[in-house]
Symmetry: C2
Subunit: 334 residues, 2 copies
DNA sequence: ACTTGACGTGCAACCGGTTGCACGTCACAC
DNA sequence: GTGTGACGTGCAACCGGTTGCACGTCAAGT
């Protein structure tokens, strides 16, 4: 039998109260509502608390207030470089509001997202779901119990921050057209990803408008290896340029092309998305920027505001994107 | 004034008890110690609970048991590709033990690590500190209040999982020597990083043993740009090969060399460390493997065991490393 | 038939905070 | 001098679980 874990610090509000010769209520108020007390009392209590090394027991606090002081962030894959910057900004914004952040990695699975949500739900004040794969119904259900903010997912009635890549995508298509490309490929991401749906339709639309053909190649889980193995399909498609779902896939494609001695951008043009790794590849990749860090801050802001006001605000913020031209796109070969 | 947040689900143990016509104690036991009850009672209670949508209030549970069911993981930088795999494995191991994971990103700062630890401490059962920058004293202090497991940090008396890169480093030096290199450079990481200290001394020792010269170049925070800007110092050092603190730095160096038209590996040989990005660069990088995922599992295992047994186990596990030769190392020029 | 003990369940205290309400004090107005 | 209200603090209930102990029941042992 495990020994009963010692609490935060052995000292409770009662100890402080006794030492300071006041009631427990006064100690509590000295921290939570000091304006109700005489300033000298507050100082005295705080000094005594400090001396004793008092730290409030979070569980007790949560139990009586009903607030946990925690939020949960769920991402499909922390290892995807799109997410870490977002995780960091969410965290720093949360910290300002004195909220601690649980992180859940759903491994690209809706089922695991649901599990994580269920696990976190009883001890958080709210959720940030980044690129969630859950069905709208399940998101509504969750939002019915706890404030939820989505990133990169557009569900009616739920506050959300959307990185609108259609702008950048369209620019990208135009860019390729100017370079003389007529037939391009889109290396598509997970079908249940909103980002993919958005990018897919943006590129299709833009290509149609520009009078270009576009072949969609399904890649599935966006990973380096998936990108690399998509190259054969890419070659078979007879396109002269490709746009990948994200930079990770794109980087894989770049490596795959190199393996087949297809020179980029001489023989083939390649465009990524998210601009997470683009600057780091050789040659540096043309990509659609996506300020994931900014999206994280915005999402956290939204959630914090909801928690503070107690109101839901079904806002729909969008973050614009644009094309960053680097060295992987060039004139169409032939 | 925010409305009082609705608890996990309106329904409490009392509601279930009333509906099932048993006492609250019985409901509690049906979940936590079912072996004390008649099986039929357990089934009945669970069925009623299910029907009512009962979820235990974590705060109340934590308050009476003194266990939170949470652990905290603190990393210096989630965006560094070394950490995400570790985060994932820690999380999946924690999940098996029904523990939720707080993630803290310390932004490479000891001060922020301390802040995060203080913030998490009152609501977690234990800590995993990955590559912590905190002083040994502060780690001891923390470990005095809560079980702590370290990764990549060797502090006496604290259970720890060490990725022993000296093995791989030594292999690397030998490899370079065979290729004819006599003067090499080490692009050092943060001085307060244990990994850096270990790698620094391993390379110095191995080089001395091989009769090679080694110039240490301080890079500071390990990042792509830091690596890139270190190239001038690297060139000035007159070395024919370099070993970087990690793959991120190494990737930056690779780009910097390319910018100066220094061909790798023809004119210069480069070795990374951690093998996180090495396979992804062009040319693919020679690097010292570091199974960060395995380290994460081991660390989580250790912590879970400590929590379950209630005993501290000052174990010191090491994970071996080896050299993975790829395409960035070749015969010394000239 | 009576003791004994194992078993299943309930009672009530407890974990450590928070908060509505009541009480005492004191300054001020009348 | 008494009434009035603001102010500062304490009392005690409450949040929702857990758990030591006690009680009642029933089967086995003598």
């Amino acid at each position: 039998m495990p020994t009963r874990p010692r609490p935060s610090s052995g000292v409770t509000i009662g100890d402080v109260a006794a030492a300071a010769d006041v009631s427990r209520a006064t100690v509590s108020r000295a921290f939570s509502r000091p304006e109700l007390l005489r300033p000298e009392t507050v100082d005295h209590v705080k000094a005594v608390a400090e001396r004793l090394g008092y730290t409030a027991n979070r569980a007790a606090q949560a139990l009586s207030t009903g607030r946990f002081g925690n939020i949960a962030m769920v991402v499909p894959d922390v290892a995807n470089p799109f997410f870490p910057p977002m995780v960091r900004t969410v965290q720093s914004r949360a910290e300002q509001a004195d909220l601690a952040v649980f992180l859940g990695d759903a491994d690209e699975s809706a089922e695991r997202e649901a599990k994580l949500a269920a696990r976190f739900s009883p001890q958080v004040d709210g959720f940030i779901l980044a690129s969630p794969r859950l069905s709208a119904e399940r998101i509504w259900e969750l939002a019915d119990k706890r404030p939820v903010v989505l990133v990169n997912r557009d569900v009616e009635g739920i506050p959300r921050v959307l990185i609108d890549s259609s702008g950048g995508m369209t620019e990208g298509v135009v860019h390729l057209k100017r370079l003389g490309h007529r037939r391009i490929a889109y290396l598509a991401g997970p079908r249940d990803s909103w980002s993919d749906q958005q990018r897919r339709s943006a590129i299709t639309r833009a290509a149609a408008a520009a009078g270009m053909e576009v072949e969609v190649i399904e890649v599935g889980r966006p990973s380096y290896t998936a990108g690399r193995s998509a190259v054969s399909a890419l070659v078979a498609a007879g396109a002269t340029a490709a746009v990948a779902f994200d930079d990770v896939v794109s980087q894989g494609v770049l490596a795959g092309l190199e393996l087949r001695d297809i020179a980029v951008p001489r023989d083939f043009s390649l465009m990524g998305c998210d601009d997470t790794l683009a600057a780091l590849t050789t040659p540096a990749m043309t990509s659609v920027s996506a300020a994931s860090a900014a999206a994280g801050t915005a999402a956290a802001d939204l959630l914090v505001r909801m928690l503070e006001t107690g109101r839901a605000e079904p806002e729909r913020l969008t973050v614009a994107t644009h094309l960053v031209v680097r060295a992987t796109t060039g004139p169409a070969a032939g």
